[in-house]
């Protein structure tokens, strides 16, 4: 295909791969902030036990879409959502759907680490305590397991009762990942989890993500193109509220199908 033949039209249907084992299915999703439409007809599937990166210039809707996957947008009054988001075949916007159980099923890690002003231990068991779990042995086990999974155990095991706020930025972010894992979600959403971290801490988080995908499905929003190419299995490119192209990451970064995608990943615009 010569360059001139590459499609540029945003009106065309997005190019999406065949996903064998979707855990999240988004169908015909439209989202409005008041009068302004932020997402247009999103149809996509997130494969289970894989890392899917959402990329695109600021304002393209990638974070908004991520927040649709655990109904965080519900907290904003002016938001109106049409369409279907299914997780494990349940429509999470369906009537009678239990949002509390959704939050348990879908964990979230934010751009800025947000540990509670409590001990490391209490940060991790907070969710379980709320759910009524108070058996010490059980809590101890969860703390160790989730810290191990987030590759933080060796660094903090001797000071579990110290304040979480005394940890470094990178450690705090891994604590937030551990806290998300503690309630055993099936999907973990990450909104630019490394943007405030130095390269070493970023590397640690990326290694953690690589390990986590064996048990969890990860959807990550990132502005760092190299990060998307390093850690994700699939990459979805968004522009102006539309899904433009989604493909296996190796394909996206060697031979994207659309010129728009090519221009974005090569830094020509965006």
């Amino acid at each position: 295909m010569a360059e001139a033949e590459l499609a540029v039209n945003t009106q065309l249907e997005a190019i999406v791969p065949d996903i064998q084992n979707p855990i999240v299915t988004v169908s015909n999703l439209n989202l409005y902030y008041g009068e302004t439409q932020a997402l247009f007809d999103i149809d996509m599937q997130i494969p289970e036990h894989r890392v899917t990166a959402l990329i695109g210039p600021s304002g393209c809707g990638k974070s908004t879409l991520l927040r649709c996957m655990n109904r965080l947008n519900d907290l904003i009054d002016s938001v109106r959502i049409e369409g279907v988001v299914e997780i494990d075949n349940d429509d999470i916007y369906g009537p009678g759907y239990d949002v509390i159980s959704l939050r348990r099923q879908v964990g979230m890690v934010f751009q800025k680490s947000n540990p509670f002003p409590k001990s490391i231990y209490e940060n991790l068991v907070y969710g379980l305590r709320i759910a009524g779990e108070n058996r010490r042995a059980m809590l101890d086990e969860v703390v160790e397991r989730s810290l191990q999974a987030a590759a933080l155990w060796d660094e903090v095991k001797d000071r579990l009762n110290d304040s979480a706020l005394g940890l470094s930025g990178g450690q705090q972010q891994r604590l937030c990942i551990a806290r998300a894992i503690a309630v055993e979600p099936s999907v973990i959403l990450m909104d630019e989890p490394c943007s405030a971290l130095d390269p070493i801490a970023t590397g640690r988080i990326e290694e953690t993500i690589e390990d986590l995908k064996k048990q969890y499905t990860i959807v990550i929003v990132t502005h760092n193109m190299q990060q998307a190419s390093r850690i994700s299995d699939y990459t979805a490119f968004f522009y102006l509220g539309r899904l433009i192209e989604m493909a296996e990451t190796s394909e996206m970064f060697t031979n994207p199908q659309l010129k728009q995608t090519e221009d974005y990943v090569t830094g020509r615009f965006g």
Binding site: T254, T266, R268
Partner: protein, 226 residues
């Protein structure tokens, strides 16, 4: 938007093309040294070979630097990857030209066995292949690249024809005749190798434009023709 990366890529492309022209000239001079029995031209080709070697190293180093520092992806990545390979093939083509010049110097010491017909024909084709392959690279012209790949078959056929023709001389048992025949067979082999490397360059053009690796897919090319 002009990116820093574009400046590096443009510079690299320019260097590669300059090297390509020098390599084309080497082929021309090497064959001329044989046809016109001109040892001086053979020297020129051999000396030029060292410059090409240095050039190749410089281009490869710059490509690697661009990979490390700019981390190109998608079309940019394919361009750098193609240039690394094209660079290598051009240098190998030049080695073949130097080989021809060396054979020519030996042949020029002997009385001419027969007028050369097919070897100059192969030489014209070989130069054309190099030029067309590089033009296809510059213009991202897959059609032209595929044309180059097809000519490679003609080159193979000519090499076989030259071999069959010279086989009769090999059977004469006269040592100077046999020596000459062997040298000419080698020259045809060098020209045919130039065709192979040009064909590689053409395949890299297809990869650059379409992202498909078409090496080892000659059959598909022929099938597409029918």
């Amino acid at each position: 938007m002009e990116r820093t990366l574009d400046q590096h890529l443009d510079h690299l492309k320019g260097e590669l093309l300059k090297m390509g022209s020098a390599v084309e000239e080497s082929i021309e001079q090497a064959v001329q040294s044989l046809v016109e029995r001109d040892n001086h031209l053979a020297d020129v080709v051999e000396e030029g070979g060292h410059n090409i070697d240095d050039w190749e190293v410089a281009i490869e180093e710059e490509c690697l630097k661009v990979l490390a520092v700019q981390q190109p992806v998608a079309g940019d990545l394919r361009l750098v990857a193609s240039m690394i390979k094209i660079n290598y093939d051009l240098e190998r083509i030049n080695d073949q030209a130097v080989n021809i010049a060396q054979r020519a110097r030996l042949l020029n010491q002997m009385p001419q066995l027969k007028p050369l017909i097919d070897i100059p024909r192969m030489a014209v084709l070989a130069r054309g292949m190099v030029r067309d392959a590089l033009d296809a690279f510059v213009n991202r012209d897959v059609e032209l690249a595929n044309k180059v790949r097809k000519i490679d078959d003609t080159m193979d056929a000519l090499r076989d024809q030259i071999f069959r023709e010279l086989l009769t001389y090999l059977n004469t048992g006269m040592s100077s005749t046999v020596d000459q025949a062997i040298l000419l067979i080698l020259v045809s082999r060098h020209l045919e190798r130039i065709g192979d490397h040009s064909s590689n360059i053409a395949e890299n053009v297809v990869y650059l434009v379409q992202g498909r690796i078409v090496r080892h897919q000659k059959e598909e090319l022929r099938a597409g023709e029918e």
